[in-house]
């Protein structure tokens, strides 16, 4: 599965379009992490717990998108976009979408 966020796959031609595929994931960290992040917020800097959380979350969303693309018979996804929204305290939704295509 080749994934890019440009309109094509370099060096290949698109032979078939399958439309939009998407994957999303909502995750929260356990309260301990939230507490640590709260403490870290006193001194500032990177909040490693949240960074890790969002990385996992994004990976999950991407995996789901890829699974959907595979199920429709695509072998590449172009024009991938990500979006993040906060649903409730401490939980974030990651959405990942793109156009599933077949390339040769």
């Amino acid at each position: 599965m080749e994934i890019t966020n440009i309109e094509n796959i370099p060096g290949k031609t698109i032979v078939e379009h399958f439309g939009v595929v998407l994957g999303s994931s909502v995750r929260a960290k356990h309260a301990g992490r939230d507490l640590m992040a709260g403490l870290k917020n006193i001194v500032g800097g990177e909040l490693a717990g949240y960074t890790e959380l969002l990385r996992e979350s994004r990976k999950e969303a991407q995996t789901r998108m890829i699974a959907q693309a595979k199920s429709v018979g695509a072998n590449a996804i172009v024009n991938v976009r990500f979006s993040t929204s906060s649903i409730t305290a401490g939980a974030a939704e990651i959405l990942c979408y793109g156009t599933a295509v077949k390339v040769k």
Binding site: I42, T51, L54, T88
Partner: protein, 154 residues
């Protein structure tokens, strides 16, 4: 009692916050210099390059403000105007995210990154007003172009 706690937190925030910020900016400059040869473009990829391979690369960071900055910025919010502290905070986040993306691209021997997109969002307890912690997530992604020759070698 509460005043003492606040003062201690302010002092802590000030000392560590400034220290972290200075250290981070210094590290950012150093890493940026090292990766200067890997160009990043915002525009879409138009040319036809048969000998290239495109791979999605991304980098992200969640960065939080410190107690002192929050305090000062809250005061400043009353009068309006430029919020230098928060400007520096998101600047740090953005540069860090782009650097992480570039480092990932470098690992797979990319020569160029095209179609860079940057996304900023708030995370954390945003619905809890009292304990609202200003922390932002910056996510940078783009398509890394790898020359086929170097790709086949690896």
């Amino acid at each position: 009692m509460e005043i003492i706690v606040t003062l201690v937190l302010l002092a802590f925030g000030y000392i560590f916050g400034q220290y972290h910020e200075k250290k981070h900016f210094k590290a950012l400059r150093k890493r940026e210099r090292r990766l200067i040869k890997l160009p990043v473009e915002v525009g879409t990829f138009k040319e036809d390059c048969d000998d290239m391979k495109g791979v999605l690369v991304s980098g992200h960071v969640v960065i939080g403000s410190d107690y002192f900055k929050n305090f000062v910025t809250n005061l400043k919010g009353l009068f309006g105007g430029q919020m230098g502290h928060y400007e520096r905070l998101v600047d740090r986040g953005r540069r860090e995210a782009i650097l992480r993306m570039k480092e990932e691209a470098k690992k797979i021997k990319a020569t160029r990154i095209v179609n860079l997109r940057i996304e900023t969002s708030r995370v954390g307890n945003i619905h809890n007003k009292r304990n609202s912690l200003p922390c932002v997530e910056v996510f940078a992604y783009g398509t890394a172009l790898i020359e086929k020759r170097s790709f086949e070698r690896t």
